[in-house]
Subunit: 135 residues, 2 copies
DNA sequence: CTATCTGCAAATAATTTGCATGTAC
DNA sequence: GTACATGCAAATTATTTGCAGATAG
């Protein structure tokens, strides 16, 4: 499924995706709707799926969250706060080496997804005051 | 939510989970049903969620798949075949180092999920003969 | 006993799809 | 002009939930 035609919808969705921070399809739908209220939810899902298949964006499957999308396609990991939902990119580190290990199993690897779940600095600081449901 | 009572349902579900290979909730439902057809789908979902919250099993969010469950809770990565769906455990390698990098962002990390998507050895061999939709 | 668990059926909610119309090229 | 794209509304499907009866400890 290739990206054949350059439509206003695709341009707006891609722009919103680049501006937003790891948004879900529905979050993108809301922000896209501000620029053109006639764009439908189905189109947002359809275009995002097309972009993902074309490698223009990355799909993220973070635990306990709807599918999110990332405009940065270079390999990197994510930290995901289980309290506030914040997603932080983590470039560098040892995960390129981790990717290498996949060859042990004889796989030909096309993409990797690395997620660290925990508390972001702000939520970590907030613990101890409020209800600490997660620690 | 703690595991308070030892019921037949929980015993059967845990046994089936240990025997199966990264099953989905529905796959477990089918296998559990062979031992006791009166166990309901809701119970399977409920018990699995409880086990996951208690750290008895791990929830897996593999791209393009329903939530899967893993009886092995020690940290390891997964190779996921995008053609046949096979999931292979990968222990060792560099991902412990990758975990360390998460501290850069200031997170307190409780769990990590590392997924490599690609073709398993069998599907890799099958490419070239059949329809190679994915390469 | 009684707090927890289960089955059932209905409710949610994300994502997909069929189809008729619109539009990029 | 025509193949691809879109909007709409309905369908699909995983997962959750309310509630009344069952059961572990």
């Amino acid at each position: 499924m290739e990206n054949k035609r350059n439509t206003e919808q695709k341009r707006i969705i891609l722009g919103a995706l680049a501006a937003a921070d790891h948004p879900t399809a529905s979050e993108l739908y809301e922000s896209v709707r501000l620029k053109n209220p006639r764009i439908s939810r189905a189109t947002v899902f359809r275009v995002l799926g097309q972009f993902a298949d074309d490698g223009v964006v990355r799909r993220l499957n973070l635990l306990g969250s709807d599918t999110r999308f990332d405009a940065r396609t270079a390999p990197h990991a994510h930290c995901h706060c289980i309290r506030c939902g914040r997603v932080t990119d983590v470039f560098g580190g040892g995960f390129e080496e981790a990717l290498a290990v996949s060859h042990i199993a004889g796989y030909k690897v096309f993409s990797s997804e690395i997620e660290f779940s925990g508390l972001c600095p702000d939520c970590l600081a907030a613990e101890g005051e409020g209800d600490n449901r997660y620690i």
